[in-house]
């Protein structure tokens, strides 16, 4: 992501904002994001909606209550701490935010500093904590509650210490104590699990990031996916010329209702293609391959500590506009932890977008027990040929990983070709 814009200010120039309240809508080529205020105070806009900005650009300021507010913004020094007026908070389009816009809303989690510090101390993944503070903000109590849930591995203090000393992962141990609590006896006879050692001559060991929470789940599920299925990937180039211009029109046409992203286009295209190629929407089991009737498309959303995959249910039955509204809800909900478990359940096929990082091809890993996952890459100015004449054309590579146990190469390519075709003729996504 190299540029974005404030598409809408939710707090008018000169009005008061409370920390955690929604401040403005940020729009980029890939996704729309509502940004909340980091501090309370009086909001002054620096730019009008619709102006293209680079990461790091200042879009406005929040003044502390009582602080003298200059009439003209031009008089304000561009950097906080310089000049007569101390700037409490510069509202910026940060590069962090740019990533956030695409996938990882790192800096924009609604949480109090104390909650974040506590989360760090307790090893709680704050992105999965449900906030109960004002505006769904995560407060300390939420983190504490979450930490007790994370400690759902019940073990005695002694068992915890022994496990730590012996390098045993308690989540792999069956507890025999009251209420399934892991006690010392459960650890007896368990083999010490190998702890990776870094040879001093080769490299110096740095900080060890504990494997827990979301990181651990991802590690297990991804590894398991690769171990248990026969995955392979292929790329196919789609012309996005029509899609780009159609999106511009739709943005105007649906203004105030929906803001379609290219990911939304791919959701719709994939849903339609899955109807035609139901094998790609199936679950493999030794007893047979189950074709799944529902088409529920998961969208990988990067969050601070990893990855969440909220699901657009019955995507084949939704219009592009509905999909657009739904993905906006899912993306912001995944980021601030307000989604229900239902929002993550029941996916039958997954999309993963890395285009905003300039990626042109990758091999996504299937979200088990699904049979396919489609990687969305960068839209770039490619070449097509009009007779002998090169023509600049917006193009995008699509990277499909599928399970060879379920589908062979030819039908997989046919599925991918259908997606590519639909994206090249995007009006078909509207019908």
């Amino acid at each position: 992501m190299t540029e974005g814009m404030v598409s809408e200010w939710f707090i008018a120039d000169g009005d008061e904002v409370k920390q955690g309240e929604l401040l403005y809508a940020l729009e980029t080529e890939k996704i729309n994001l509502d940004v909340d205020a980091d501090a309370s105070g009086i909001v002054r806009h620096s730019i009008e909606p619709g102006v293209n900005l680079a990461p790091g650009d200042v879009v406005g300021y929040i003044y502390e209550p009582g602080e003298t507010i200059p009439d003209a913004l031009q008089a304000i020094p561009s950097r906080a701490g310089e000049g007569e007026v101390e700037l409490t908070e510069a509202v910026t389009v940060s590069s962090d935010n740019a990533v956030a816009v695409a996938t990882a809303p790192t800096g924009r989690l609604k949480s109090s500093p104390a909650a974040r510090r506590l989360a760090g101390e307790l090893g709680v993944d704050i992105t999965v904590v449900a906030g109960t503070g004002p505006g769904g903000r995560i407060v300390e109590a939420d983190v504490l509650l979450a930490s007790t849930r994370i400690e759902s591995v019940k073990a005695s203090p002694l068992a915890r210490r022994l496990a730590e000393q012996r390098g045993i992962d308690l989540s792999t141990v069956t507890g025999s104590g009251p209420g399934g609590r892991i006690v010392q006896a459960d650890l007896d006879g368990l083999k010490q699990q190998s702890v990776p050692k870094v040879a001093a001559t080769q490299a110096t060991a740095g900080e060890v990031i504990p494997l827990k929470g979301m990181r651990k789940t991802i590690a297990q599920r991804m590894h398991q996916s690769l171990q248990e299925s026969a995955q392979l990937s292929m790329d196919m180039l789609a012309s996005m010329e029509e899609a780009v211009s159609m999106r511009s029109q739709l943005l105007k046409e649906w203004e105030g209702e929906a803001r379609p992203t290219f990911t939304d286009f791919v959701v719709k295209a994939a849903a339609k293609a899955l109807l035609v190629h139901p094998q790609m929407n199936s679950v493999f089991a030794p007893s047979g391959i189950t074709l799944v009737e529902s088409i529920n498309i998961g969208i990988a959303v990067a969050v601070e500590e990893g990855l969440m995959v909220p699901v657009v249910r019955d995507a084949d039955k939704l219009t592009l506009k509905d999909i657009s509204i739904e993905t906006a809800r899912l993306a912001s909900g995944a980021r601030d932890g307000t989604l229900n478990l239902d929002d993550y359940a029941g996916g039958t096929f997954t999309l993963s977008a890395l285009g905003m990082f300039g990626v042109d091809s990758f091999t996504p890993i299937i979200n088990q027990p699904q049979s396919g996952i489609l990687g969305i890459n960068r839209i770039f100015d490619g070449l097509t040929w009009d007779q002998d004449k090169p023509v600049k054309t917006k193009q995008m590579n699509l990277s499909l990983t599928w399970d060879h146990r379920v589908i062979d190469g030819a039908p997989a390519a046919e599925f991918l070709a259908t997606v590519v075709e639909l994206l090249s003729e995007p009006y078909r996504l509207l019908v």
Partner: protein
């Protein structure tokens, strides 16, 4: 024909507790008792002796009341009244158990129960069919060779707690918890007590350091203690008992035999059923099953430690197992033991001598450094804790001093929950109480004592 889900044989702290728990879990339960509900513990053990020892303690405290500025003049006691009081406490509690049986709809059969076969029990003329049987027949004092208590000069525990006279000289054979408690009781009443133990220390199951402190305290009270000492030629006539102790012939007004217990197997048909035994006690698995289907055994009849609370705990396991619940086996290292002498001794877990082959840390905190003990002038005593040096596991706790039997449960909780030294150190103990000595002992093991 009587039909029950469960037949419990024996109404002691194991048997009656099993009946209550099983009834709570919806089973139709019967219980057979040949004597009085409450068993040895309630009628002829823990309870009446605690009554006697309480009287002795009060007597001792009254004679020390001067220190607190209380002038009481000459103090007299009435042994017969003490015994009566202890009997009425026992009776009251036995009736309480009777009430509990009624409340929990447990059918009581009075008489000797005989297991004819798995599933069939006979009490007198009554035949009882039961899907499950719990044997909780307890244990009885062992005799010494062919010497039996005669109730006159040779006493067992029963005679010792219902004495017809106060002996001037008393020989107690066996310095386990029972022997030591009687020694303490009679010494307080002024009897010249000789306590004899074959093993090299009194209270052989206790930590050696604690036993040593106990021995010193008893000797100071005038109790003669003979360890590693054998007894020969014990005999008695109407007037006197005599024995050869270490080659020397001695005479005593009375002798108490407290040389351990044997399982109560005869009479109940257990010896004829083919139930497997181990060292004379019924062998059970971790959920109290015997080798015969549908027959469980709990408490003293399954072997040591012969403690009421162990029997009660095993009762829960057996009843819950029968009801199909998930149970957790008893860990013998987690059973606390108490001796209610003066000073008291309480302990749980491993002794220091058990730790020879592993790195450990030991904490000691003497009661003279505890504020509450100073106030009550009960400064004799020690709280000793043992930890695994690597894991911080609390391996054992050994306490001596007045009041420590009411403290040991704290360590039982800690060990039961597998607390480490960290969780114990973080626990806040109330001031001013004896329990602070527990905390200090833990701190001491890790070089953090405050009050030493």
């Amino acid at each position: 024909m009587n039909e029950f889900d469960l037949m419990v044989i024996g109404g002691g702290p194991g048997g009656y507790a099993a009946a209550i728990r099983a009834s709570q879990l919806g089973l139709n339960v019967a219980l057979a008792e040949r004597e009085a509900l409450g068993g040895t513990c309630l009628n002829w053990g823990c309870i009446p002796t605690k009554s006697l020892l309480h009287a002795a303690e009060l007597l001792r405290n009254i004679s020390h009341a001067d220190q607190l500025g209380i002038r009481v003049g000459e103090v007299h006691f009435d042994l017969a009244a003490m015994v009566n009081e202890s009997r009425s406490a026992a009776n009251q509690l036995s009736q309480g158990v009777q009430h509990l049986m009624k409340k929990n709809k447990v059918t009581i059969f009075t008489g000797e129960a005989v297991i004819e076969s798995p599933g069939l029990v006979r009490v007198g003329d009554e035949e009882i069919l039961a899907d499950n049987i719990i044997v909780a027949t307890g244990a009885s004092p062992r005799s010494l060779g062919n010497i039996q208590p005669d109730g006159n000069r040779i006493w067992g525990a029963r005679e010792a707690m219902t004495p017809g006279f106060l002996p001037e000289t008393l020989l107690i054979v066996g310095a386990g918890a029972i022997g030591v408690e009687f020694a303490s009781f009679y010494a307080t009443l002024g009897t010249k007590v000789t306590l004899l133990e074959v093993a090299s220390q009194i209270l052989p199951v206790e930590d050696a350091e604690i036993a040593e402190l106990a021995m010193a305290a008893f000797r100071q009270q005038g109790i003669e203690i003979l360890t590693s000492c054998s007894l020969e030629n014990l005999k008695a006539n109407e007037q006197v008992a005599s024995a050869s102790i270490g080659g020397e012939s001695r005479e005593f007004d009375a002798v108490i035999l407290s040389v351990g217990v044997k399982a109560n197997l005869s009479g109940s048909g257990i010896d004829k059923l083919g139930i497997e035994l181990l060292d004379g006690f019924i062998e059970v698995d971790e959920v109290q099953r015997t080798n015969l289907p549908g027959i469980f055994a709990i408490g003293d009849v399954t072997g040591g430690p012969c403690l009421a609370h162990k029997a009660t705990h095993e009762a829960m396991i057996a009843a819950e197992e029968i009801a199909g619940l998930k149970t957790h086996p008893v860990q013998k290292s987690r059973i606390p033991g108490c001796t209610y002498s003066h000073p008291q001794i309480a302990s749980i877990g491993l002794k220091e001598a058990d730790l020879k082959d592993r790195p450990y840390k030991v904490g000691r905190f003497p009661l003279y450094a505890n504020g509450k003990a100073v106030v009550t002038r009960q400064t004799e005593g020690l709280v000793k804790t043992l930890f695994d040096a690597d894991s911080g596991e609390l391996l054992g706790a050994h306490l001596i001093g007045d009041g420590v039997t009411e403290l040991i449960h704290g360590f039982a909780l800690a060990i039961g929950h597998e607390a480490t030294e960290a969780s114990l150190m973080q626990t806040i103990f109330p001031h001013p109480t004896l329990s602070e000595a527990m905390h200090e002992s833990v701190l001491n093991a890790f070089g953090r004592t405050l009050h030493l």
